[in-house]
Amino acid sequence: MTVRRVMGIETEYGVSMPGVPTANPMVLSGQVVTAYARSRGIRSTRATWDYATEAPLRDARGFDMGRDLAHPSQLTDEWVLDEDPTMANVVLTNGARLYVDHAHPEYSSPEVTNPRDAVVWDRAGELVMREAVGVLAGSPPGVNLYKNNTDGKGSSYGTHENYLMSRATPFADIVAHLTPFFVVRQVMCGAGRVGVGVDSRLPGYQVSSRSDFFETTVGLETTLKRPIINTRDEPHAVPEKYRRLHVIIGDANQCDVANLLKLGTTSLVLAMIEDGFITEDLSLTAPVASLRAVSHDPTLTTAVELADGRRLMALELLEHYRDLAAAYLDERHGGTPDEDTAEVMHWWGVVLDHLRADPMSAAREVDWVAKLALLEGYRERHGLDWGDSRLRAFDIQWSDVRAEKGLFHTLAAAGRVESLVGEAQAADAMATPPEDTRAWFRGRCLARFPEAVAAASWDSLILEVPGQTALRRIPMLEPLRGTREHVGDIIDSAADVNALLDGLVATGEAPD
């Protein structure tokens, strides 16, 4: 394999009502979802979520956690769908899911097949949130949203990646070869953070916004005792064939290049693991402590210790993974990979070279560097210490989704950030699904027959067919079926939902 595989990004946004810190975040999050749904004409009482196949307590190591042992926040399949705005949950015509996850509005991107498309539909999610903020601004004081991962006071919320993998790959191999990579990849895709420690008790700046919140190496939890490798085993696909690797350790990126590298390099490392290409033991003696030590050192001179006694800088270990990937592509793909893989390898080289020469020279590509460069300028201009609340305010406002308020957007508008995805392309992706996954079927059915879609999930669509008493559940357990090529004409040419079903059955896309 190359960088190409089925993947996606889920982002929980920070949410606040200006001047009202006591506002209920679940209610605010519900307002965000409802505001966007209404502004786009999506009825949230329709297009709800089908929880039939969700199994959040299934563990990739081969056992189920008892429901009575689970923290209530892990029971993501038990939510009652009713008129309660805090349960707002809609499927968008681009195939994404927009809903309230715990106390945050979350945008889960549609399934895509490559890192560039992951960036496109993640950027679309930012615009979805921006539009919701715009709608809510009509009712002062409105609601503001932040693409970040912590309030700096002890709370963190996630940006998760998902990668479809072969079920045949032993989970132990994933743990062994991915853990060291996850400890060091933050130097090229960390979002940066003002403050050290979960509650920022020490002044300073660190590479990653999430690293302080990880407490263990492997585990099922996502809201407490967060693990570097998450074992949630809900494939949302044919379970005998596929595993969905649910990655919870990443930061929310705004830089396209860092975001592309986060998805692309991880996909390449997974490809090497699936193909048994990594034979060397790169495991670390203390992954969690190393994760934090690397994050706490923006000079990138801190070493991590390998189990065999070697001590390497994070950058060196990352360069080693890059060299392994280059050798893997040469050997297995004749050195002529597809354009998605070429793009990832290009930027992987550029960013590592910049970080190696002078970390600050990666300011056009990497969030934590871009933010630090600007913070240093701001600090110098106003003579501020790292403990100054203006720098913490700067950090929060860096991720404000509004174009006129978000400091990242100020920097990007000045042309100081490398852009891979144009604004028009991201805006188009707010309502258009990726063509080459089942997201096409999901999103296009919602666009064409919104009244008929009773519920949807990642791997099913439930249709209400006029004249039939029973709902029709259409399983979508193959993520690479239901593409535009498979069902585009059927959806476009169907005059009504009966004709849609007839067309799907006739072509074998739906069971009779």
Partner: protein, 87 residues
């Protein structure tokens, strides 16, 4: 779409510097930490900015803009940004 550099293909792998010891011994103390519990920052060093973090001249315009949009009461703004933990 085809990225303009797609034709550049792969970079040649560089020789690994794995056998070298990159760190002077005095840098190592920060690794001697226990590998459990969330980080309260209690024993972390105050980080320094990397060398070369000096401000370039044309950043002034951006800083002017930031001065214009940054919340005027930073302390209150920071205090008011309270989130519940998520996943």
């Amino acid at each position: 779409m085809t990225p303009p550099y797609a034709a550049t293909g792969l970079r040649a792998p560089r020789p690994s510097t794995f056998e070298e010891d990159p760190m002077p011994s005095q840098e190592r103390s920060r690794h001697d930490r226990r590998d459990d519990g969330p980080d309260d920052g209690a024993d972390a060093p105050v980080p320094a900015a990397p060398q070369g973090a000096a401000v370039d001249s044309d950043i002034d315009g951006i800083l002017d803009e930031i001065d214009g949009v940054l919340e005027s009461n930073a302390e209150e703004f920071v205090r008011g940004f309270v989130q519940k933990g998520g996943q």
